[in-house]
């Protein structure tokens, strides 16, 4: 399992670069062009990152979460889910930047190789911003009756979250 994880990235790059060379395109120019686009994209998301880091940190620093945890922990009984992950799971479908900000916070407090750090990584990787995508895609073609698209997507996210918890437990 571990070897697969380590091979994916280098394999990807070698295939992409060699295929480009084989097709006789200028791989270096193509790289620079793409890199420039990446630079612009990253700068464009900077305001959103500031906004989300600001709101999430105020929320987390207020300790409201530990107050909530005290309220609901008697109900959870023996289930051991790290509770810091709950706000991340709730915000993941709405905003990728918000869940990224929480993941950053988890890495800072617990480290990326802690159980919760790994769980946050898997969670961030396995679902997408469902609500945002649905709003954008249906909005562009002016569809108002979306039938089961929203809750179907959220159901898939829920399964993804549960799978992430189980799989992280199995792997590490």
């Amino acid at each position: 399992m571990e070897i697969i994880s380590k091979v994916i990235l280098p394999l990807f790059i070698i295939v992409i670069v060699f295929y480009g060379v084989k097709k006789k395109i200028n791989v270096y120019d193509a790289f620079l062009e793409g890199a420039k686009e990446g630079l612009v994209t990253t700068f464009n998301i900077f305001p959103a990152v500031i906004a989300m880091i600001f709101a999430i940190n105020i929320f987390l620093d207020s300790n409201f979460l530990s107050f909530l945890v005290k309220l609901i922990s008697p109900m959870l009984g023996n289930i051991t889910v790290p509770l810091e992950i709950i706000p991340m799971a709730l915000l993941r479908p709405v905003s990728g930047t918000a869940s990224l900000a929480i993941m950053n916070d988890i890495f800072k407090s617990f480290g990326p190789d802690s159980f919760i750090g790994r769980l946050a990584s898997v969670l961030q990787g396995c679902t997408d911003t469902t609500i945002y995508v649905i709003a954008l895609y249906f909005g562009t073609v002016k569809i108002t009756k979306i039938k089961h698209a929203l809750w179907g997507g959220l159901f898939a996210d829920l399964i993804g979250i549960i799978a992430a918890i189980i799989i992280t437990n199995l792997f590490f």
């Binding site: 395109i25 193509a30 500031i50 709101a55 890495f107 954008l136 073609v141």
Partner: protein, 195 residues
């Protein structure tokens, strides 16, 4: 939607810290938050730039299209209501392929074009067609093979093995995609019976 959540997080945070006497922490938080955002962006920037560069090579050389074509046979099974030669299928496969490679900026335009094509063959223009719903469920399940931002952050926080989460993430994604598509399939079956 995001606006309300944003305001809610700030509101709850400040009000609760006022009530609980935690106001010093909040003051410090307000003043240092922006620095943290800058750190986050600086941590992400190099690998995003590197990866979009690499993926541009795949796009220009036609590898991305080739990869998308591999998905086609599977897609025509998932979208029985879309004619096999319809442009929508091509856009859908480009969208999924770009998403898989973590190329969000290339995925969105293809996805929107796919929606436009699906809308052309949609009999009721304000109601979502079955194909649109299947597409969105597949899309939002978020199949990602190379999660660059996550890898970048794990490296920044000194992970011993940043890539160890790739395989678990792929497995978890597979579970959510299969669950979403299965649910969609049964709902479609049931609504056909009613007609």
């Amino acid at each position: 939607m995001v606006g309300y959540i944003w305001a809610f997080l700030i509101g709850i945070g400040i009000i609760y810290s006022l009530i609980s006497g935690n106001i010093n922490v909040i003051n410090e938080s307000i003043l240092t938050n922006a620095n943290e955002a800058l750190d986050l962006i600086l941590n992400l920037l190099p690998i995003i730039v590197l990866w979009t560069g690499i993926l541009k090579i795949a796009e220009v050389s036609g590898l991305l299209n080739k990869f998308a074509n591999l998905l086609n046979p599977l897609l025509s099974k998932l979208f029985p209501t879309v004619p096999k030669d319809n442009k929508a299928l091509g856009y859908i496969s480009s969208n999924i392929a770009a998403n898989m490679l973590g190329l969000g900026s290339a995925a969105t335009p293809a996805g929107l074009k796919a929606m436009n094509e699906l809308q052309k063959i949609n009999p009721e223009k304000n109601v979502a067609s079955p194909a649109m719903i299947t597409f969105l469920i597949l899309n939002t399940a978020g199949v990602t093979l190379i999660p660059t931002t996550i890898l970048a952050l794990r490296v920044a926080y000194n992970s011993q093995n940043p890539g160890e989460i790739i395989l678990p993430a792929i497995l978890a994604t597979t579970c959510s995609s299969v669950a979403g598509l299965t649910l969609d399939y049964f709902i479609r079956k049931r609504s056909q019976k009613w007609k």
